[in-house]
Symmetry: C2
Subunit: 284 residues, 2 copies
Amino acid sequence: MLDTPTRLLPLSRCSINTATLGHRSPIGGVIERVARHGFGGISPWRRDLEGQDHRLVGRHLRDAGLSLSGYCRGTYFPGADRAAFEANVADNRRAIDEAAALGAPCFVLVVGSLPEGTKNLASARSQVAEGLSALLPYARDAGVGLAVEPLHPMYAGDRSCITSLSEALALCQNLDPSRLGGIGVAIDVYHVWWDWRLSDDIAAAGRAGRIMAFHVCDWLVPTADLLLDRGMTGEGVIDVKRIRSQVEATGYDRFAEVEVFSKRWWSTPEDDVLAACAKGFASI
Amino acid sequence: MLDTPTRLLPLSRCSINTATLGHRSPIGGVIERVARHGFGGISPWRRDLEGQDHRLVGRHLRDAGLSLSGYCRGTYFPGADRAAFEANVADNRRAIDEAAALGAPCFVLVVGSLPEGTKNLASARSQVAEGLSALLPYARDAGVGLAVEPLHPMYAGDRSCITSLSEALALCQNLDPSRLGGIGVAIDVYHVWWDWRLSDDIAAAGRAGRIMAFHVCDWLVPTADLLLDRGMTGEGVIDVKRIRSQVEATGYDRFAEVEVFSKRWWSTPEDDVLAACAKGFASI
């Protein structure tokens, strides 16, 4: 395991994923609020920008002094039939256009898993690979990286058939064997912290130039809900500081993005949530 | 991926883990009930046998026509300090004595994880390895196999720092490099079904002679509770039949053991639960 001395990072290296605020307010106000708290980045969701001009939103956030750490998130690839699959790919193509208009460096893909009533993970994985393969040239032309986010195995039934960093990296390697780039991974500590291969996989991801995003939050013991009970960084049992050091040791020098899905935090005033994000970030 | 034609198995190849019945009745009645339904095996928990003579219980279940598929389950190894760790090892040693008195072929170990207030998974893993290493000669002398059960990564915080079959196999290999035996794995579909390496790992486990137990149940979508919302085999999204075929293809010819933790099934009459176990077993 490779360790490097931990350095303190300025808040300008911290980005706020808008899901952390619970999608309660219009994006304009969220941008102002995130900037006012001193964060350097933001990562909006598609749902925050419905009906908006993505180019204008991108200008607004840059005027506010913010950079984008990503754009969330992919439509699940696997479909019950071919038409559903193709509609999902087409929707992701539109999202890539939006990401390009925003000026986002990468589009984060949660890839989906078993279509309802099915049990064939291999088939879901094959649809994911085919979908990403279809998107890759398009995303390269648009200058938007495809950031594949492996999800925690507890989402393998419905949200992501890609359940570990090593699996995501193998997928990237298959789709981009010459390492031209344009496809990589989003590493979220919540999804990968349990993995005995994690430090090796982070190092491998760094060597291959695949780390496009790094997300932080925490795992609570006990966890009351599979989806909406994440902890703020520092509240739980993940050694986020150690994982952050491993990611930085690869040369990654972009944002740590705070992404917390939590009924509890979503019922906390937005300014308090952002103060907690800053405090959590300081702890790593 | 290695596939073999699926064969139907007789109910004599199915074992009932007593947790599936919710530990509602004394073990004597549970033995009679399980035998009456035609199952060939049973796997009791330590808590079912408190204050009992394990040798007599073993005789009772054999007289009822049942075999043992295992004895559940290990005390978590990691402790807050050295004394706690050693007490945990000593408790597991007593459990091995009990398993031997019962006549159980293996003792299933859920290894534990982070002591409260800690975040160091590497240290927990190291305590687990040390504990197993201390137990192995003792278990060999007793003729009881140590069956390490990797748990689903959603239990990495509190119940098991061993979160994949490949990790459990590497641990076995480290502790028994010459493959003398006496240490292996319990494969529970609930804990490992999501793993892209699963079919390779099952084949490797078989080649190394490490498969000591095979547990079945199902993953429900949605899952309402991290601990107590398992499905009966066939109710969920796991392709149990396929995994069972892969396990059998290694030459494994012992029990498929039904282990379901479920508030719902625990409030269902025991005879109905056993009927559902038989029906689920028929589906794989």
